[in-house]
Symmetry: D2
Subunit: 441 residues, 4 copies
């Protein structure tokens, strides 16, 4: 498919009707965000394509912020879910045992844990990433008897009070309305530039009983910072952090909510790096189809919860068990999918590097989780606006939204992927050369 | 249907096979709770009935802790959802506008808000009740510039750090691993017995600048305390609390997560009481079918959020929009359902009162949200165990789990309801007269 | 001495010179307070008399807020101190052993602890009451492993962050600039009127694991609330509180900073009430001469401090050791002084009751720590202004400064005491009958 | 005076009597610290000499941790105080205006503020350094409306909860019993070695709205870290910190409690460095004679306190006003004393450098506030023990007590100073060469 074809197909074809969005003005809170940059009303979606109610078609390079790694409404997952619902499978069962849960656990054990030599217990938290993070830090505090959690600059871990304290963004933090305590944010890998080993800085302070940095219950880290600007930590740095945690009696929590489920090329983003986290949080693409689902994994010896000590009405979403099981069976029973991701990740890397070289920019990220730093949020916003006008859904990331990030479905056809990257490249070129005008849309 | 028939139909018929539950031992966290009291693996559910994988059938008087007010897999909701999925409706769209969201908002406005004269904005939080509560208290703190939230004894508001601070239960609280701050728990209506007006006690302390009770950002209250023992506050007390909030510059937040969606006889549990909350949190039965969904409602002048200031991957679950819209249209377009609930609520009240009278016990609650205080958690557990053995799923509530609570689907057939209450009555009788032996199962 | 004589002697005799107070305007912080109500510059003081630099003489019914129980510059104490300084006694020795410290400890043991059957260890904290309170709550938290401290409405315990959290006054609290955590303020004896037993309310919430009130490390209480309005708790209530602390594993801390050292008739304000605090804080009159000095006493089994775990440059003020020892030897070697205080306390009680009866007011307090509630801070301020104009230094107390409090030196001559009370009575009469005009001064 | 003579004169001459220290065992808390390393009972002190009750004499190189910059019982100060007491000067007057306070303020203005071009208001806090720090951070939080205080690694600011949160030492911090919040400890000058500019690291994080480091109310810094190991910040670094504070809307607080009053060669330790702190805290040597006294200075525009918003019984110790005024007049009316300190500081620097060179050690500090890093607390303790046995009172500092610190009175005679340093040198030599045995004492 050529770019021209793609663009032609995806460009919204206004029908002349001005869509009525007054219901949103009237009844939806000002807190809404994506809907502002993409003022369409979407009707349906399939694979990498989204359709609005005016006949427009869009290529999705956002993928629900990595929630739709297998694309929209994947037919295998969709069929499994429709069959389950049609047969009156349990929809909601609190944390009762169900067939759907048993199948998920067995599949997760046989296809994910065993082949990777991992021994984790699964805790089905409320079906949001922030809830999985809250459970993780509660458990770490309970097990260690310590309060402090070490998180990192530019980290994003969620919006409820415990997870928000671990999140770096000042605008998000200020929403708390109370001081956010019991967390210290340390510089992430590369934060002070390539010459400063920030793991060594952390080690020094933790080894110094007069540093004022208390003994931590946990170190909470993303291997790639999805919201924080697609900063990818090196395996060396992550191993150093794992070593620091172990030496100082802290638990290592990897928040794999955005980077997990294949996004970086492996099921877990930390695979093959030479360390094993004590706790792992998962959500986003875990259900495979975009259904709310979250999971906190931890070593059996850490499983010191009392029954119901952390609970929640929607823990264990049975619809999500069904689609997650189907996704694991379809994508993760052998290494075909991994190889596929790697190839596309390399393609993405080459294309972004070329764009960066052309305009003197830099790239970020790992696997199919990469972006390009265009210098400012204003420039990045203009680029994503140009992309959207050309039928490409794409978003920004980073402290100042200065990174245009590509989070295409991992299942994307390579020709379509290339065509989408052509749109991105052309948009960057137009904006960087000053020839883009907002009025163009 | 006679009790005998019901019991016969619902009693699990062991097939001789011992169900294999080793996967749970091996891979599910010790935090699981309901599965311990009801050690079955459930396969499917329809209306008020749940079926296990050994051929057993159970009448559901738990209803997902009031998440299944319309029963399991209601055919109208189920059809709407299957149609939507089959047509590749948007499953996950972050907070983008979708047809499903627009229809939900329009339906909620026309069938719920307008007829009740309520003017609220809707904020779709992460799809858990705790997230809706976190959003509510964040907003209250932001708008008022104050930190303290007043919650009540025996309150339950969720498990993430902000909501957990508002929860009364010590076992839940201790899971936090850090001190829970910025919340004061005040005595609920009737806490000190009928003679003490606890609203007056609160008023006195808030009016005294030397009481040490800081000016609150919000007063957060359940009209009936679902987890806390089915304590129902009187309209007078709730009005007094609303007045206190107004006079002291605090926002009144009604947590209607368990008591809302018709459970107490009206869509909102506070209807007709002569006050309007500033903020209302909803979840549980809002989707109608048990799908994860949560909502924080507030007056437009409080809508001071910045875009994305509180966000989350699964905010606005489109599947839930679809079933919620179908449920609103099916049950709430006129007052038939309300009248129906009232009638069943009266039946429930009469039956529980009779049981209480027989054994010198007391009842609690309102509408279809009622329970019987059997004096201790041990007795209550034995009763629910006896019920389960007779094919009735029922649970306890209260500080010491001493309340056997009836949370039947609101749609339950009255004959079936009576038959289920017969099982409960017989179980209570057997246990209270000492003729029940656990070995009986 | 007649009132007329007293008034004549004490009324300031303006010399015509306007005293220069510009240095205070220029260089002293706005935080100053007493100097505003009593705009004189004081030069010297002796016994119950203070002299300003314009030749005025004032009778002191404030006594440094109970810091000068033995009056100003008592000759015995003064001589001991001058002798010590003249002989180059150690002035500052950190926490080194000194002759002065040994003598104080031995005297305190033989004259105070032994006769009362008390077995306490002494911790010399930084020489401020707030520091003694900080040490007490740190120790209680350390020993119990709990965080929450229960303090009471209208409590005053100091201004550093830990003690301030225990203080009730909103204006003081707001100075913190951060939320004050880990403390719950419960209603003091009589707070809800005579019919409500507030100890029983506390017991109920602490016995209820779902009340939201965490298990406390300590209950911190004043037997008479000096700053909070001279509320005197009954022995029954204090015993109940002591029992609650014991049953719930909390330490009982009596803050005897203002009420101790004889103010209520005994050395400790809790003597003879049938309970023994785990921890006692002392300061104010402990040095006897107004020198900075503070002490935290606790049972030996609670002495779990590591060396230097709580320290401070001025802990163990040696000048204060000297005067404190002299004061103990002079006033507390037999029960003469106690009887003397009791007699004067009765006199005070009679006089205040008569005033209250005349004007339909009420009295507060115990021993030589009593006041009269004149209804509002405005009225109370006018009364103290009238007193000051008549040569009597007296201040207010209470949430709204509505209590005129009498804290005369315990050593005051009874005739002088009566004459001072005449001034108070006359001032109240003048103000209550509306015949007082501020211009009068 | 030769070392031999000095040693002979100072070595304790046991009288054969074993001093009775049982009163301390029985009645003084385990929290005592210095008394353990120096198990003598001191009786009197004069100039640089301390005398025990067994006839021993000791040269004081500890000087009350810089509280006795003018030595013990300086005759000029002593006379002023005895005269004041003898004339019945006000001993305790709360915060009333007194002659003593007026004279102190006028003297402080004319001899300290005016010559240095400083315009500060004086707030007399409770007479402890920790109270002065609490007042400073309360004011900074109040004025800026922010909560976070930035303090530094190895900082020591006091032991009450607000100041303790700013203190780095883990053993001190753990005494709190609650998490210490609202403070972040950043690396001090040189913390990561000479190559890392820690001010630049701080600037980067404060300039990054996603760093997770909130906007600070204040940056609290010691110019030389007295307890933290005599680390002296460079003027460049301090200016950078001052610039960071200004640019980020934070107040700069210099804690000059230990380094002030001439210890580093000027009255304030920050003089001549090209920046002016917004707030300065003082205590220790301010009274000149070791009396409890503390002061918080700030720019007039920051004086936003309400009357009594921070108060305390012993604020404004009149005895301390008298001796402080006498000390200012005696030592600070011209630059003789400053020159004197500089000369002795140079001597100290030379001597310590020579010792360091001999044993391959390093030195720390500035002015008359210097130490030598002997590598470990064990070695340092042995050295101070050897010194004490030779009649020299000296102590350690630093995270691991690895710094032997010299805090001699600034008034020390140079020959005596040299002789004391001879003892130190000889002790180091004995210990470092392994020829010291503890049994030697």
């Amino acid at each position: 498919m050529t770019t021209a074809t793609l663009v032609r197909q995806t460009r919204p074809r206004p029908t002349g009707r001005v869509p009525d969005r007054s219901i949103y003005e009237r009844r939806e809170s000002e807190v809404r965000s994506y809907a502002r940059a993409m003022p369409r009303q979407f009707s349906r979606a399939e694979d990498v394509w989204m359709y609005d109610n005016q006949g427009g078609r869009y290529l999705d390079f956002l993928a629900g912020c990595s929630t739709l790694n297998y694309g929209h409404n994947h037919p295998v997952l969709k069929k499994a879910l429709v069959d389950y619902i049609s047969a009156d499978g349990i929809t909601h069962g609190l944390d009762l045992h169900t067939d759907a849960k048993a199948e998920f656990l067995e599949t997760f054990e046989s296809l994910i844990l065993k082949p990777r030599g991992l021994d984790y217990r699964a805790m089905f938290t409320g079906p949001t990433g922030t809830n999985a993070v809250e459970a993780a830090i509660k458990l770490a505090r309970k097990v260690t008897g310590r309060e402090l959690v070490i998180a990192f600059t530019n980290a994003f871990h969620g919006m409820t009070l415990g997870a928000l304290a671990c999140t770096g963004n000042a605008a998000k933090r200020s929403g708390a309305g109370v001081p956010l305590s019991h967390v210290s944010h340390e510089p992430y890998d590369g934060y002070y530039g390539g010459d400063v080993n920030t793991a060594a800085l952390l080690e020094q302070r933790l080894s110094d009983s007069s540093s004022g940095l208390d003994e931590p219950a946990a170190i909470l880290v993303e291997t790639v910072q999805g919201e924080g600007g697609l900063n990818a930590a090196s395996p060396e740095w992550l191993r150093a952090i794992a070593g620091i945690a172990r030496r100082h009696g802290a638990l290592l929590i990897v928040d794999d909510i955005q980077a997990g489920c294949g996004r970086t090329g492996k099921f877990f983003s930390f695979e093959g790096m030479g360390f094993t986290p004590d706790i792992v949080t998962m959500a986003k693409s875990l259900s495979g189809m975009g259904l709310p689902f979250a999971l906190t994994l931890f070593s059996p010896e850490l499983d010191q919860w009392s029954p119901g000590e952390h609970n929640g009405t929607f823990r264990g979403n049975n619809h999500a068990f069904v689609t997650a099981t189907a996704a694991l069976r379809h994508f993760w029973r052998n290494d075909t999918f991994e190889k596929d991701i790697r190839r596309k990740g390399d393609l993405l890397s080459r294309r972004l590097s070329a764009m960066a070289a052309e305009f003197g920019l830099s790239t970020r990220g790992r696997g199919m989780m990469r972006g390009i730093n265009v210098g400012s949020g204003k420039v990045a916003d203009t680029i994503t606006l140009a992309c959207f006008a050309a039928g490409l859904v794409i978003e920004t990331s980073g402290a100042h939204d200065e990174i245009v990030k590509v989070l295409a479905p991992l299942t994307i056809d390579e020709a379509v992927f290339s065509a989408g990257l052509d749109i991105l490249e052309e948009s960057i070129r137009t904006v960087m050369t000053g020839s883009y005008s907002v009025a163009a849309e």
